[in-house]
Amino acid sequence: MAWLFVGPALLGIGLVVVFPLVYSLWLSFTDVNLLRSTGPAVELWGMRIPLFRWIGARNYTQVLTDPLYWDSLWRTLYFVGAFVIEATLVGFGVALVLNERFPGRPLMRSLLLVPWSLSRIVVGLLWIGILDFEFGALNGLLLRAGLVDGAIAFFKEGWTALNVLVSVYMWNQAPFATLLFLAGMQSISEDLYAAAEVDGAGYWRRLWYVTVPALRPIVFLVLVLATVNGFLMLDLIYVLTMGGPAYDTTTVSWHGFKTSFTFFKFGPGTAILYTLTALCLLLTVVYHKLVLARFEAEG
């Protein structure tokens, strides 16, 4: 009976997720040549899915001996680390502010959803309007206030560009962390705060001894989700830096994207992307443990 309900969705997911996932894994072990139409293939319902030539782990050895891969991996780790820290801290800080009572709080909570509901293409676009060397509003304001002598080129130097990417992505994603934190803060019993206040605890002590411990599961959740999102980010790089200057903002996902779809080398490309997938599987295990722990705690 249950299978009648889950069946269609699982079948659908099997067709659009599991099958491509397995096929991509297969591709990462083959010598894909998109121009060749002969060679081994599977015939399924009249369509011909090419299998290409199995070359073992050669794509993986090629990818993993390429210094560009390791450079982008270290860069990705920095990107993810910086993004996770920024998004969590800012998300938490904003949640603290929005958890206070002040007139206009419902409006503020609506505003919170704006950065998050924008397409990342638009997110990149509007930050270009602010950061651009020639017409950027921030440069305009800084120049007018006399704080800088010349306009700042935010995307000219690799290190700056990478950190700008982190902050722009954070602007887009931190509001979601805030939503989760706010939901958690509202489930904390007010009696705890009352008791702490009776005991003479001020704002910061209440924050540290009541709010933070109660939010621990949500903190972990935010960390895991932000880590995954950090590893997978692609579209902002496309609008803002295209992986450059040079390779200075090339992350693993961008490297895989370019190898697959700019150079159309599907073999090495899927191999790069599969190293990312393995990482996500690992993070899913962590997430799953967290969720399960919560299930058990709730009985």
């Binding site: 509901s117 293409i121 299930f295």
Partner: protein, 297 residues
């Protein structure tokens, strides 16, 4: 009750003047940080490029114009009208894809979510884990496979292809969100329906679904938003002019040097509006649905 209410998130009646000032300063700063960039996008979209380039810089544009919108809507001719003229057609494509994917998700995802919330069945935990994994999966890893299969099927550069590809990252989300939602509906409701002679399907269709409006709205609006905003998959799979969705067209305009930023800003603002409005209209349900979906697993 009064004492309870007073403590929630601090007590503002007894706030000192100093902390009042700090609070309002932070609130203002947060508000600016959240909304000013988007407002600036609007300002640039109703400005002339020459005024954006003018220094000293002014926050309030000296001239306001709808020319940029006229250009992308094809009402005035200009040198890059070929590029800008794709905006409306691609918005239509975006709408069709987003609506169809949302429909598919609501039918299939909701039914599965209900089963996960109510039934125990073999492989339930394993398939839940698989679902979670597909939710965390980099969608981009699936695209080489879609690319080759769609080429074999002739689905490249079609909206059908995009719909299929988009289900890969939306369906797991919808199942998850709906499962969390159905868990908040008391199981006694279904039980009494079963006692009254309904079968499982009737209990679901006639009794549970009609009271599940908020959950359906949350799942539907979220799916629509994801599809409307998606860029990478559409960019790769639908490259033929006229077959792609809005985000790739905007990104393409951004890559051209001969198009003014103000025109691109206008298309960005116009393209962002549907998703932003949708989220703002349904915010209550979406926030509930999403936080329940991720917090409770």
């Amino acid at each position: 009750m009064t004492t309870r209410a007073r403590y929630r998130g601090g007590n503002y009646r007894r706030r000192s003047v100093g902390s009042q000032v700090i609070l309002y300063a932070t609130v203002t700063a947060v508000a600016l940080w959240l909304i000013a960039p988007f407002v600036w996008l609007f300002v640039t979209s109703v400005s002339y490029q020459r005024n954006l380039l003018a220094r000293p810089f002014t926050l309030v544009p000296p001239e306001v114009t709808l020319d940029n919108y006229r250009k992308i809507l094809g009402l005035v001719r200009f040198h890059a009208e070929g590029q800008a003229g794709k905006i409306l057609a691609s918005m239509w494509n975006s709408l069709v894809v987003a609506l169809v994917v949302t429909g598919v998700n609501l039918v299939m995802g909701t039914t599965a979510g209900y089963a996960y919330a109510r039934f125990h069945f073999p492989l339930k935990m394993l398939s839940l884990f698989a679902l979670l994994f597909t939710r965390m999966l980099p969608t981009i890893v699936l695209i080489p496979a879609f690319f080759l299969v769609f080429r074999a099927l002739g689905l490249q550069n079609t909206l059908t292809g995009l719909v299929i590809a988009y289900c890969s990252f939306t369906l797991p989300f919808t199942v998850w969100i709906m499962k969390a939602y159905f868990e908040t509906i008391p199981a006694d409701l279904d039980k009494s329906a079963l006692v009254d002679g309904c079968n499982r399907f009737q209990a679901y269709w006639r009794v549970v679904l009609p009271v599940s409006g908020p959950g359906l709205v949350a799942g539907g609006a979220f799916t629509f938003m994801l599809c409307w905003n998606e860029f990478v998959v559409a960019q790769i799979l639908n490259t033929k002019p006229g077959t792609t969705t809005l985000p790739p067209v905007i990104a393409g305009m951004n890559g051209q040097i001969n198009i003014d930023y103000s025109v691109i800003a206008a298309s960005g603002f116009l393209g962002a509006l549907p998703a932003v409005l949708l989220v703002l209209v349904f915010q209550k349900y979406m926030v509930q649905g999403l936080t329940a979906g991720s917090v409770k697993g």
